[in-house]
């Protein structure tokens, strides 16, 4: 940008500048104010429902510098989506001021995600002797609660759950001082005027400790093996000392959570590195202001702490996060050992976040509750991420990321709501170029979760000022999200096939508008032919798809029961192989049911056909005697991946029948697994060769589709690609074959990303 010649007053100009994006509640106005002071500009800055508006007057050169600095020096939590500048008549009015908020018009100004305690606030809290030393709620414009405390827009204190706390004089001064880090920080507070901690008995009224003591008292109880419900940013956690075997086991039993690993919170990166391997990309992810739970390879040799067996039974990985509130920092600094910090709920229920409800639901699980009096308005679970080939991959995108929107490669004609899938549900609201994925909602067949879904849709529609005209939903007639869509009045419905939505979510993430080869491998999704899909090779762009190939379908004996009990899929694949049933432990264990279920599979008695890749992994896990019944989604596949030996192996071969629609033989892979199993080949080797075989099968199918359709880009999506072993080998194979490969980074490959894909498809169809 060119700087003009130095000019006198007469050559002054005045500009109207509009900035849209995440620009409210992140210190944008004081930043503009300070910048204007520095450049000796006149005018004003304010918030309205569209974002930030500025009028600035001064020499052309200063105005140019101002516009540059707006983008380059913006506050750390802000995101600029668009910036426009238009000339105005010069007024000559003196000074630069911050004007009051204007709440008229539709609220498009974006609320920021919650952000982890910044370095300055951490210093104040842990040392320095100031009035916030030891205070569990320290925050500023660069950090603290946002999305979880917002009741309405514009983002001002009366519209947050801080409304009930009147600022003391000291805080009010900081809040009103444009030069202060806390200028217009809506949740600003201190021990004199802000929220307070208390340690309560689970009856909710017995006060065990108040003031500064609760943290120390909690640490003592945790060390003694107590289960503590801790109120966090987006909900309650259940905490135990992660090195305390009895406490961890007791928590697991009380939560009815049989196998799924618990997340850990450690004080800092060094502590994390003491229990797990932390590569640089993982360290960046751990320290990201969103503070996701990061899945890290477990340190097996000489760990700094002996993590109790019940924390992550049999897992090669640990889910680790760093503290993200001052309370976490204070607690971790006091207890000096890793804590289990798992979601505050009983299995399958949504995480508790309202105080009275939490006390009722967590009684019988927790012994005491470390809580406070700042209400949580919106339940928001911890996000989960991992590093794949040096890049982050979000597995659950929630606290810290929501409501930051995804930018679509074009402007939507009409506002859209993507209703999402049934498990790991999120929904997605979009208008213009911006698609806002909701926080993690969970499994919709749970009644409480479904209620939070309908409430959540209403809340986010109000917050974003979006009234959807198009509703995009899954084709599965029995998804609660489909039922929700069908019952809503005054909208146009767009049915989107599940795997097309998976691929579209990947395309939307990469702003890819051309047709690609889409490989969607997941558990199950409703196909457009009424069968259950899940091992799909599509030719797709955002608007349309054709099924270019798929795993050969097999029956699922017992329908949903075959998802819960992988041995049924072993039966199904063994039957597909034909011939005599070999002598196998899995068949012996289920001898009483075997022939009945085989008959049911053959006769189609509650045995729907599926081309699912997830069910193929289930079958192999059961054949290898790794897992016969699952207690959480994808468990058998996770354990098959865990057991697989690392390093280069030859993949098992599998045929592709080159019909009009390619048919990929999962049965060939099972045949090879079976032969090696009967030959006594070690399970880790079989598991590795099976993974490699699936990857090779995908690559070979893509090569055939490239021949037929001339497409050179492949998009990989679906929950099966959370499997890093499979993803890595598939990526290598495709890249070696000259494909450009799109994989997920910010949008989960699992059903948490479906709603974005639905929005992209509905919007793309609406465009034509």
């Amino acid at each position: 940008m060119a700087y003009g010649v130095i000019s006198d007053e007469a050559s002054h100009e005045r500009l109207a500048v509009r900035v849209a994006g995440v620009v409210q509640g992140v210190g944008f106005r004081p930043f503009v104010y300070t910048l204007a002071q520095r450049l000796h500009l006149r005018g004003h800055v304010g918030n309205d429902t569209e974002g930030v508006f500025i009028e600035a007057e001064g020499p052309r050169s200063a105005l140019d510098a101002f516009l540059c600095a707006l983008d380059l020096e913006r506050p750390p939590l802000s995101v600029i989506d668009s910036m426009t500048a238009a000339p105005l008549p010069v007024t000559g009015a003196p000074g630069f001021t911050i004007v009051a908020s204007d709440a008229s018009g539709p609220p498009a100004a974006q609320v920021a995600p919650d952000a982890a305690t910044c370095a300055a606030c951490l210093d104040e809290t842990t040392g320095g002797g100031g009035r916030r030393q030891g205070y569990a709620f320290t925050n500023c414009t660069h950090c603290g609660p946002r999305f979880t405390i917002v009741r309405d827009v514009p983002y001002d204190r009366p519209n947050t759950t801080m409304a009930g706390f009147a600022m003391c004089d000291d805080c009010a001064k900081e809040y009103g001082d444009p030069a202060d880090r806390r200028f217009h920080a809506q949740p600003v507070c201190c021990p004199a005027c802000g929220p307070r901690l208390s340690l309560l008995g689970m009856d909710g009224s017995t006060v065990l400790a108040e003031g500064a003591d609760p943290v120390a008292a909690t640490a003592r109880l945790l060390r003694a093996g107590a289960v503590v419900a801790i109120k966090g940013l987006g909900g309650y956690h259940l905490a135990v000392d992660a090195t305390h075997p009895e406490a961890a086991a007791r928590l697991r039993a009380a939560k009815h959570r049989e196998d799924k690993p618990f997340a850990l919170m450690v004080a800092d990166l060094a502590e994390a590195a003491g229990i797990a391997e932390v590569e640089p990309a993982a360290a960046r992810l751990l320290r990201h202001p969103a503070r996701p739970i990061v899945l890290l390879p477990r340190r097996t040799r000489h760990p700094a702490h002996r993590i109790a067996e019940a924390v992550a039974p049999g897992c090669r990985e640990l889910g680790v996060m760093l503290p993200y509130t001052p309370l976490h920092h204070l607690l971790l600094a006091t207890i000096v050992r890793p804590l289990v910090m798992t979601s505050g709920n009983s299995s399958d229920e949504p995480i508790a976040y309202r105080d009275d409800d939490a006390m009722v639901r967590l009684t019988g699980i927790a012994d005491v509750a470390l809580t406070h009096d700042r209400p949580i308005h919106l339940r928001t679970d911890d996000s989960v991420a991992r590093v794949v080939r040096g890049s982050p991959m979000l597995l659950r995108r929630s606290r810290g990321y929501v409501p930051r929107p995804v930018r679509l490669p074009w402007k939507l004609r009409r506002p859209v709501l993507g209703c999402g899938a049934a498990l790991k549900n999120t929904f997605c609201l979009a208008r213009g170029e911006f698609a806002t994925l909701s926080h993690h909602i969970g499994e919709l067949s749970n009644a409480a979760t479904f209620r939070s879904y309908t409430e959540g849709v209403g809340h986010l529609e109000r917050l974003l000022g979006i009234t959807p005209e198009l509703l995009a939903h899954d084709l599965h007639p029995d998804y609660p999200s489909t039922a929700y869509a069908l019952e809503r009045d005054g909208v146009e419905l767009v049915g989107v096939q599940h795997h097309h939505a998976h691929i579209a979510s990947c395309l939307a993430e990469h702003a890819e508008q051309e047709a690609v080869i889409g490989v969607a491998f997941d558990g199950l999704g409703y196909g457009d032919d009424g069968t259950l899909w899940g091992g799909e090779i599509l030719v797709a762009d955002l608007a349309a798809y054709t099924r270019a190939g798929h795993l050969a379908a097999v029956p699922m004996p017992g329908g949903a029961a075959a998802v819960r009990e992988p041995w049924r899929m072993a039966l199904s694949y063994l039957d597909a192989l034909g011939g005599e049933l070999p002598d196998l432990p899995v068949a012996a264990r289920h001898a009483a049911a075997w022939s009945t279920l085989r008959d049911a599979a053959r006769a189609g008695v509650n045995a729907p056909l599926t081309s699912s890749a997830g069910r193929l992994f289930d079958a192999v896990a059961a054949l290898l005697d790794l897992r016969e019944e699952v207690t959480y989604e994808g468990q058998a596949a996770v354990e098959l991946e865990q057991v697989a030996q690392r390093g280069e192996v030859a993949g098992y071969p599998a045929e592709i029948a080159e019909d009009a629609v390619l048919s990929l033989s999962g049965a060939d892979l099972v045949r090879a697994v079976l032969a090696d199993r009967l030959d006594g080949v070690p399970v880790p080797e079989i598991a590795a060769r099976f993974h490699a075989g699936v990857a090779d099968l995908i690559v070979n199918a893509c090569l055939l589709v490239r021949e037929r359709h001339g497409l050179h880009t492949v998009a990989l999506s679906g929950g099966v690609f959370q499997n890093t072993l499979l993803l890595g080998r598939t990526l290598d194979g495709l890249t070696l074959s000259g494909f450009r490969v799109l994989t997920h980074r910010q949008i989960p490959p699992n059903d948490g990303g479906i709603s974005l894909g639905q929005v992209a498809v509905a919007g793309a169809r609406d465009r034509r």
Binding site: L423, S445, N446, L532, G559, A560, L597, A600, A603
Partner: protein, 330 residues
């Protein structure tokens, strides 16, 4: 062929085609039987078609079903069944011996239910245009009691009962098809319910809000129909639902939820809270209601959901299914 499985698909077919064409207040109520008043006499009138395969199964056959099914639709409308008609559609070549067996069974069922079959019709269609034998019966009954029943009458606080173990008929028929190598001793529950419904009405009078026989789609579908019609929610306690061990075992093996399986001799009753004890006692005194149970409660729910409190303390939505149940898990 999802239309006919008794869930959402059937509902929308009925709503889209028949209600539109035939519209009148008696049909619009969508009860098991239409409540009519003819020259001052309160009648109930209903019709149903029977297309079961196999035609003969442990505990009954299509003829017995055709009588009991229509008797039951009258019974749950609070009426005393009186007269039935029977129409037969036979596939060319259908054996006389089988037909005789079916008709004999119908006669016996009519005698047991104290109704007379007073009109009939028979058509023979070409081979392949029907599967053996289809029967349509219609029935008329007398509504002797002054108070009206209706699924829209359920109110928050009301108690939901089921008259006996669920799922026997559907599981029996499924296994009787002979596709499965499964030896279990199951029998259809087909039975005329007018005695049990009369006993309940005698004991509780106007305390009975609604009754419905749990045929296609099972208890789960009936409860959803009640929730929608009355604009209420219903919470069911999974542990309280009576299911015979043999039915439970076969259902678990085949991955089928007994709450969605058809019964032919069981009904769901919604009764006022203060009538609940008397209702349960009256049912249990009747031979067909020995294992009757309170399975849930009506509550206030703007979403009109039926919820199942599971054995593990979770609460699952028990939805009206579209067509055959398909797994929803990804």
């Amino acid at each position: 062929m999802a239309h006919g499985a008794g869930g959402k698909a059937t509902q929308s077919l009925v709503e889209a085609v028949f209600l539109e064409a035939f519209h009148n207040p008696q049909l619009a109520a969508l009860d098991d039987a239409a409540a009519l008043t003819v020259a001052g006499t309160r009648l109930a009138f209903t019709t149903d078609s029977y297309v079961v395969s196999p035609l003969f199964f442990p505990g009954g056959d299509i003829g017995e079903l055709a009588v009991n099914g229509t008797v039951n639709d009258l019974a749950v409308a609070g009426a005393r069944p009186l007269f039935l008609s029977a129409g037969f559609i036979l596939e060319e070549g259908f054996g006389v011996a089988d037909l005789t067996r079916i008709v004999t069974s119908m006669a016996a069922a009519a005698k047991a239910a104290d109704v007379r079959i007073v009109a009939g019709d028979t058509k023979v269609v070409q081979r392949g245009q029907a599967d053996g034998c289809y029967i349509t019966t219609a029935g008329v009954g007398l509504r002797e009691r002054a108070h009206d029943l209706g699924v829209d009458r359920a109110r928050p606080g009301d108690v939901v009962l089921v008259s006996g173990p669920v799922g026997d008929h559907g599981m029996t028929v499924l296994i009787a098809r002979g596709d499965l190598d499964l030896q279990v001793d199951l029998r259809s529950d087909t039975a005329p319910l007018h005695g049990a419904t009369a006993a309940l009405l005698d004991a509780c009078g106007a305390g009975v809000r609604a009754m419905r026989d749990a045929t296609r789609g099972g208890v789960a579908t009936v409860l959803n129909e009640i929730a929608r019609a009355a604009e209420v929610g219903i919470v069911v306690d999974e542990e309280a639902v009576p299911v015979r061990p043999g039915v439970r075992g076969a259902a678990e093996l085949l991955g089928i939820d007994p709450l969605y399986v058809a019964c032919e001799g069981r009904f769901v009753a919604v009764v006022a809270p203060d009538a609940a004890d008397a209702a349960l006692a009256a049912l249990r005194r009747h031979p067909l209601g020995e294992q009757a149970a309170v399975i849930g409660r009506v509550d206030d729910d703007p979403a009109h959901l039926v919820l199942l409190r599971t054995r593990f303390g979770g609460t699952r939505i028990m939805d009206l299914l579209v067509g055959d149940p398909l797994p929803r898990i990804c």
